[in-house]
Amino acid sequence: MYRTGIEPPERVWWKKVGRHEKVWVWIAFAWCMVLFAMMPIWHLRGGQNPSGIRHRVDPADFQARVLEFVQEYQVGTDNGFPLVEPPPGGDVYLQASQFAWVPVVRLRQGAEYTLHLSSLDVNHGFSLYPLNINFQVVPGYDYGLRIVPNEPGEFHVMCNEFCGIGHHLMVGKIIVEPADAVADAEGGDR
């Protein structure tokens, strides 16, 4: 005898489940296991994981590291911001603060870098346009992400975490030079 959901059932309602209902529960369960397995599998086999190297960092220390980074590898300026070209395989520092990303960096296609993100004041959001790669930037934490830019071009870094009244002004830039162009230029120098 069936009841609606607003009628009290008898005291013991632990009854046998119908076959078709049971089938659906097991299918749903199996799908949930697939959902769960995909994340560890991607850590082993996939190229995109938000793991990174994570440390606490004092905002003042991070700012000092950014300054050092800029002084060591600056090659010019872009729109008033220092333009910095770190060596492939090295560390890249990107500092978020109300309302700018410092500095502008130039990378090489196919090379691996460790991109350090942190904030000097409030939460910010690293959003690489037009690729749509997004990370949270939290003050007091250094998020070191290994990246391999796989295509050349000019990319913008939008802030996508509300950080105050000038949030929408906060745009930075990452330039990726094509792998062969870099090789040619180096060949010419020698």
Binding site: M1, I6, P9, H20, P50, S127, N132, N134, V138, N150
Partner: protein, 573 residues
């Protein structure tokens, strides 16, 4: 005066204090909905670049107002009404501490007023999440604390009503499923509101310069409130699905054990929900993220997939038992689509499942979150869950609460009948367009994606402008639906025609009443089950079987398409 009145429609004994508390909380919810709705129009017309209505500062302020009023004040006031309804009314029980109920209500109103004052005067431009160290006026935090204490008191009161009802034998047997679902919502609310206290009390002290709050710890604990409270909404919504099904078409419960276990699964892993917002944060490692974002291996997703089957299956079986047994979908054809309660139920299930559920699970995957975090995909997801799902279900049940509790007919009933269609269609277009725009990287919570004043100016493809236009049109249609809801409910409650003390002549005079009131689904008799021949290989609910498999295929497709999109990106890790 007898503290109880007998409901002529359902025969239930309704405690008059419960009546009044339900009314007060429902009215407060509607006021919050109105304020949040006005803010919604302003925010929408600003994000539509063609209009760009507000200045930046006012935009962020109105976004704060919209978030707080909709996600906190409207939803939680309404849920307080649901708790009183599911306990005192459905169990024939008395409200033991009426005065305490009013104290809680006053606390909640006081908290709301404090928060409203700080927001509207520009003292709390910190958005809904108020991430430390963005700073708001201390009264903003204190207001939230008072509101949470009030709500927590109602939750405690709810537990007391159920306990006393059981002891005084107000009902026979076990708790009805709807009350059981509300009970899980209340349990989740207790845990959630405690998270709220744990984070807002230190933050209040921080705003007075009395202590420090770590930004990452804030995000962790705050989302224990922010996301877990969406689980209150889900549990309350599913309880209302069962309630609406019962009232409109006499939906049955296929198996109490399955549905109840699914409700319990919501409660067990609730605090883990916070992880959904921290997947691309620097504070936690991969194993913490994988384990927590999956809610203990997706057991809460399993719960939703179970309800997504049992609710339509119960509706189908309830209708088949009453004679609508033709073919696969004869029951859907015969369903009362003109009943705003039923259409709300149907749209709530479909949009919540197909758009909200699928996108939510996909974006909540650790790695896929890289291409979703803080883009418009996120509000696209939660407008499909909490608005098209929860708010839609709450609107649907209102068309029954007005006659059953307020004892009024529904004003402008014709408008009320089309309201769910407008609201659901608008929200569907709106949330899908938002989700789609987010795949292009369009950020959420952003005043101007034209970057007219920025030093560097990324340019979105013209397709994005078009999608944002579609989003705006969908949003406006939904807002029209929301406006109709407010006009209909306010007019009905304050000026609607009073129903007779008994329901005599209801069928004749009840033009402003949903069919579930004027001609309720007939009670089932054992012969109904015998008359219904078990049909074919798809079992007793073949229509639902087909529907859930369509759902599964959509789910699998969307999920793996997102992995594919992710794999094209730069290697990162």
């Amino acid at each position: 005066m007898n503290p109880f009145r007998k409901c002529p429609t359902t025969g239930l004994q309704v405690h008059r204090t419960a009546d009044r508390l339900i009314k007060a909380n429902a009215v407060a919810a509607t006021v919050a909905l109105l304020i949040g709705g006005i803010a919604a129009v302003l925010v929408l017309l600003t994000r539509w670049e063609v209009v760009l209505l507000l200045e930046a500062e006012m935009f962020y302020r109105m976004l704060t107002v919209h978030g707080m009023n909709m996600l906190i004040f409207f939803i939680i006031f309404f849920e307080m009404a649901v708790l009183y309804f599911a306990s005192a009314v459905l169990l024939n029980a008395r409200v033991p501490a009426g005065r305490l109920g009013w104290v809680a209500f006053v606390l909640m109103v006081l908290g709301t007023l404090m928060v409203e004052w700080t927001m509207w005067t520009g003292r709390a431009d910190v958005l809904f999440t108020s991430y430390v160290p963005l700073r708001a006026h201390p009264l903003f935090y204190l207001g939230v604390i008072l509101f949470a204490v009030g709500a927590l008191t109602v939750v405690g009161h709810f537990f007391a009503i159920i306990t006393i009802a059981r002891r005084e034998k107000a009902y026979e047997g076990s708790l009805p499923l709807v009350t059981y679902g509300a009970l899980t919502a209340a349990a989740i609310a207790a845990v959630t509101l405690l998270h709220g206290a744990i984070i807002y009390i230190p933050t209040f002290l921080w705003s007075l310069d009395m202590m420090n709050v770590d930004p990452q710890v804030y995000r962790l604990v705050w989302w224990g409130l922010g996301h877990s409270s969406q689980q209150i909404n889900v549990a309350a919504m599913v309880a209302i699905w069962y309630l609406l099904g019962a009232l409109t078409v006499g939906a049955v419960v296929l198996n109490e054990k399955v549905s109840r276990t699914a409700f319990v699964l919501y409660v067990l892993f609730i605090s883990m929900a916070s992880a959904h917002h921290l997947l691309v944060d620097p504070g936690m490692g991969p194993s913490w993220k994988v384990w927590n974002t999956s809610y203990f291996m997706y057991m809460a997703v399993l719960a939703s997939m179970i309800h997504g089957f049992t609710v339509p299956a119960g509706t189908e079986l309830g209708m088949r038992l009453r004679g609508a047994a033709q073919g696969l979908f004869g029951w859907l054809k015969r369903a009362p689509w003109g009943d705003p309660g039923f259409s709300s139920l149907a749209f709530s299930i479909v949009v919540f499942g197909f758009v909200g559920g699928i996108t939510g699970v996909t974006f909540g995957t650790e790695q896929i979150n890289i291409i979703a975090h803080n883009t418009l995909r996120i509000p696209g997801h939660f407008h499909a869950t909490v608005v098209s799902g929860t708010a839609m279900a709450f609107m649907g049940i209102t068309y029954y609460v007005i006659p059953l509790i307020f004892r009024r007919e529904i004003a402008f009933y014709r408008l009320a009948k089309i309201q769910p269609y407008l609201f659901a269609a608008g929200m569907l277009v709106f949330s899908m367009a938002m989700t789609f725009a987010g795949t292009f990287g369009v950020p959420r919570r952003h005043w101007d994606i034209g970057f007219s004043q920025a030093l560097f100016r990324p340019e979105f493809s013209p397709a994005v402008n078009l999608i944002m236009g579609v989003m705006a049109v969908g949003g406006l249609v939904a807002i029209a639906g929301g406006a109709i809801y407010i006009v209909v409910t306010v007019t009905s409650v304050f000026f609607g025609r009073r129903m007779a003390a008994d329901d005599s002549g209801l069928g004749a005079t009840g033009r402003g009443l949903p069919p579930g009131i004027t001609s309720p689904p007939r009670p089932l008799v054992p012969e109904d089950a015998e008359a219904l021949k078990p049909s074919g290989r798809l079992g007793p609910v073949p229509g639902t079987m087909v529907l859930v498999f369509i759902f599964l295929v959509a789910f699998i497709t969307y999920y793996f398409v997102n992995w594919m999109l992710l794999s094209f990106l730069w290697e990162v890790g």
